[in-house]
């Protein structure tokens, strides 16, 4: 029997996962070597202490609740990494400890004993799943990359409308949770029909490619998405961006396309290809849907056309403004010929 107990004790100490046993009052009675190393806490400092005394941050958490369920009801609990991430302050090594990066944890809380009047204890078993999480992230990123290759617009190489619509749903959901603003832009190449008629469709395609590239270059953040919405129409989604931020970006895009200096003899706006841009923003958590913001950006675009093209118009609370905050008097411009 003694040799069996000795062997069991060795197993506990050598196990490649954290093992902590709590008594009926949630005081630590076993704290194995793996756990002591990961917590940077010697075993003798942990033994005898209450769980909340040892880890005060656990108060009110799922782990504390799971321990109580285990000790009081005898029911086991699973704490997944996906819902809990890093409940305990455990670290994979010295570098992680110094930078405060905790290991991702999968925790099982298992009642021990408690039958036939026996006292009930609780085993908290912790596995380090950081590597599994990392692998899953890599696979997900690779899948996304593959998919991105499938969802770009064939002509311009920027995102397709379909991808834009899918991402918009995701970004709006995030923005609702984070209470952050989302801005949208609608861009349209001015008098593109005349350009095509004058220079031919091949030149027209080249023009769209150059315009798309110039616009995409001005969207500096990985979150921002530019997509081809229709023939010569583009749309941009700027998460975590208010109107001022979007105005700055749109002005940059306007200038960069002007600087391309693509000749357009048939334009009565300028000697070269220009765009008109409508910008709007909203707070999804306050009821501003994707459709509402896009519609406002579209209306702002029409206002820009109406005012002479080759400009940015912003829509704020139903009022149209120029980027230097000048209110545009005609609030309901008629739809101009693009």
């Amino acid at each position: 029997m003694n040799s069996e107990l000795f062997l069991a004790a060795l197993v506990v100490q050598e196990a490649q996962m954290g093992l902590m046993v709590l008594d009926p009052d949630a005081n630590v009675v076993l704290f194995n070597e793996w756990l002591a190393k990961a917590a940077y806490l010697p075993e003798k400092e942990a033994l005898g202490k209450n769980l909340l005394q040892l880890f005060p941050e656990l108060k009110g958490t799922r782990l504390q609740s799971a321990v109580e369920t285990s000790l009081q009801k005898g029911f086991p609990s699973l704490l997944s990494q996906s819902l809990n991430r890093t409940p305990l302050p455990l670290f994979g090594g010295a570098e992680e400890y110094n930078t405060g990066i905790r290991m991702e944890q999968l925790i099982h809380v298992i009642p021990l004993g408690g039958r036939g009047g026996q006292q009930r204890y609780c085993l908290v078993q912790i596995a380090n799943v950081s590597e599994a999480v990392r692998r899953e992230k890599i696979l997900t990123e690779q899948a996304k990359e593959l998919r991105r290759n499938l969802i770009t617009d064939g002509l311009t190489g920027i995102y397709s409308r379909r991808y834009w619509e899918e991402q918009a749903l995701i970004e709006f959901r995030k923005a609702r949770r984070d209470c952050s603003p989302v801005a949208m832009m609608m861009l349209d190449v001015d008098l593109f029909k005349y350009f095509n008629d004058e220079y031919g469709h091949q030149e027209g395609d080249l023009c769209l490619q150059r315009v798309a590239k110039a616009a995409a270059n001005e969207l500096k953040r990985p979150l921002d998405i530019l997509a081809r919405y229709g023939g010569e129409e583009f749309v941009a989604l700027l998460p975590e961006t208010n109107l001022e931020g979007a105005a700055v970006v749109s002005e940059r895009i306007l200038k960069s396309i002007q600087n391309l200096q693509i000749p357009n003899r048939k334009s009565n706006v300028a000697a070269y290809v220009t765009v008109s841009i409508g910008v709007a923003f909203g707070f999804p958590n306050q009821g501003d849907t994707h459709e509402i913001i896009l519609s406002e950006a579209d209306q702002a675009l029409y206002a820009a056309k109406h005012l002479g093209r080759n400009r940015v118009v912003l829509c704020k609370d139903g009022i149209f403004l120029t980027p230097c905050n000048t209110i545009i008097d005609d609030p309901m411009p008629c739809k101009a010929i693009k």
Binding site: R62, S65, T69, K73, G74, F75, P76, S77, L78, L79, S80, Q81, S82, L83, N84, L106, H108, I110, P111, G114, R115, A132, V133, E136, T140, A143, K144, R147, I170, R173, K174, R177
Partner: protein
């Protein structure tokens, strides 16, 4: 055919709703979203009958099961249709995964949600019995209802207590089923203990 009378059914539903209310509060806290859970109906089916009328029949479902042993022994299985489950768990986890099937991490997350709900439903039953239960860790299963409920001929004398579970998260709603699989004597013990519980309440 095993049945509970109306008072027993109402009492049991009331008890389950208190239990799932606590589970909903726990899930709300974890997800920072308002989660609403309710158990509006329950019925009893015999094994063979259940086989003919399985919930989500023919569809692929995701199930989380735990076995509870004590004065009343049961295998409790929480089941949701696969497509709704995937959408639901990804919403909770805030992931925009492209995979058609649940990843390992997502399965574990779902397992935990099932564990919270199953523990919350069984806790009041343990109270009714004023007894100790031993329970297994939650297990994730996916397949048809037959597979998830582990039907086999050896369990032919079982009764299934089937409850509809409504789960609401923000504007999303999904419906699942909670099945308790027990032998007839255990269900009869449950019935007797509910009566005892009711008479104690009436004192």
């Amino acid at each position: 055919m095993f049945v509970l009378n109306e008072l027993q059914q109402d009492t049991l539903l009331e008890i389950f709703n208190i239990g799932v209310g606590k589970a909903a509060a726990a899930l709300s806290k974890m997800t920072a979203e308002e989660v609403l859970l309710s158990v509006p109906t329950l019925e009893f089916l015999e094994w063979e009958e259940a086989r003919q009328h399985l919930p989500c029949e023919g569809k692929i479902i995701c199930g989380i099961s735990q076995r509870f042993e004590g004065p009343f022994t049961t295998e409790a299985v929480l089941m949701f249709p696969e497509d709704k489950t995937i959408e639901f768990i990804r919403y909770i986890l805030q992931v925009d995964s492209l995979f058609a099937q649940l990843t390992e991490m997502e399965q574990e997350g779902l397992c935990e949600i099932g564990n919270i709900i199953l523990n919350a439903c069984m806790a009041p039953i343990a109270d009714i019995f004023s007894a100790e239960f031993h329970a297994t860790m939650p297990e994730f299963r996916m397949g048809t209802s037959e597979h998830v409920l582990s039907f086999d001929a050896a369990q032919a004398n079982r009764v299934i207590m089937l409850m509809l579970v409504k789960l609401q998260l923000e504007k999303r709603e999904t419906e699942g089923y909670l099945a308790f699989l027990s032998v007839l004597p255990d269900m009869q013990r449950l019935s007797a203990n509910i009566d005892r519980f009711i008479s104690e309440l009436q004192k």
